[in-house]
Point group: C2
Chain length 210, copies 2
């Protein structure tokens, strides 16, 4: 990923917050069949790991070996930024359109898990995480794996393969108009709030002003 | 991308609508430096092409040769789907969590353009497209490249490299609960409308009922 110096994101809290808020990652791998991508909800786990699972029918676990390199991409909200949004525009007209977004690219090595215990553990962690988030937002009771019949859950677990990605490198970018004049930066926030990019606007609101 | 038969998307209109609505693509390439991804707004052009541009400082155009293969990933809205959202759940409890989303993966070959005419044409098309969309939503006048001083625009164009991707293969997936009972499908729409996934809900509303 090309990251000009003023857009490099190195804050671990910011990176983790983005992964947590936009968990549906794109997992990309170079296989004998060429580049292959899959959209998979991932979860941070322990120190430097991501976990998730794929369908047993997904040949990714056959086309990759445990230890192979993968690239995982998380993307936050994004929005087109019009030059018309900059109050300094009428002063000199030296503005061009751009795009604001945050992205985290994680390089790592993948290990697949086929045993029921590992699969149940990873599925359980994902379920707990997303049911808790939902429950917090709606006030409704969380679904638990134990709500389903045991034989049904065992059959479901047979149909998946779990995996653990050991992170080797993180590249992150926060492209948030922080290279603009303060007055332009502020108005971009106002425009993003009005145009349906609340997460992006909120992130910019707590950013150090340019 | 692993696509079970009931989630395969083959409708060109649906695929084009997703590309148009979520234009910030992830462009992935296998280079001598490993797998590299960049987030770039792309535009459909002519029959079977995508166009866009990168910064001249982005070494992607040095690490790839014209004619090299790239993978372009477009992702629509996505949402966690709780088993609690299925009205049939209390009947048998045989449900597990899943994720709904639409994705389009495009394989193609890239050609870079360094001449000012090609760059101005591609930048112009992207600008027109996004300014028109914005103008339609806000009622405000669209920004035009001619609004900026000519020397400034020429200097800006010097700092970019344009490219054209010739599409060789499209894989698309619409994972929209269409493999569920009609009553469950309907309630997922209601829940998505309430939880901030309007595009996904709208797409499901015009889907053939299961």
């Amino acid at each position: 990923m090309d990251i000009p110096a003023h857009f490099v994101e190195t804050d671990a809290d910011e990176i983790n917050a983005l992964i947590d808020a936009f968990p549906l990652a794109v997992l990309v791998a170079q296989t004998a069949a060429g580049m292959v991508a899959n959209h998979i909800p991932l979860l941070r786990h322990g120190d430097g790991h991501l976990v998730g699972h794929i369908a047993l029918a997904n040949d990714l676990h056959q086309n990759l070996q445990s230890g192979d390199e993968v690239l995982v991409i998380f993307t936050g909200e994004n929005a087109y930024i019009s030059p018309n949004w900059y109050p300094t525009k009428p002063l000199h007209h030296k503005h061009v359109p751009t795009w604001n977004y945050q992205a985290v690219h994680i390089h790592g090595t993948i290990v697949f898990h086929y045993d029921e215990k590992s699969k149940a553990a990873i599925v359980g962690r994902l379920t707990t995480r997303h049911e808790q988030l939902l429950s917090k937002n709606t006030g409704e009771a969380a679904w638990k794996m134990a709500d389903a019949p045991k034989e049904y859950m065992q059959a479901m677990l047979k149909n998946i393969v779990a995996f653990d990605i050991s992170i080797t490198k993180i590249l992150a970018k926060s492209k948030l108009s922080q290279n603009r004049d303060a007055v332009d930066f502020d108005n971009v926030i106002t425009k993003l709030e009005a145009s349906g990019a609340p997460y992006l606007a909120k992130t910019m609101r707590r950013w150090p002003k340019p």
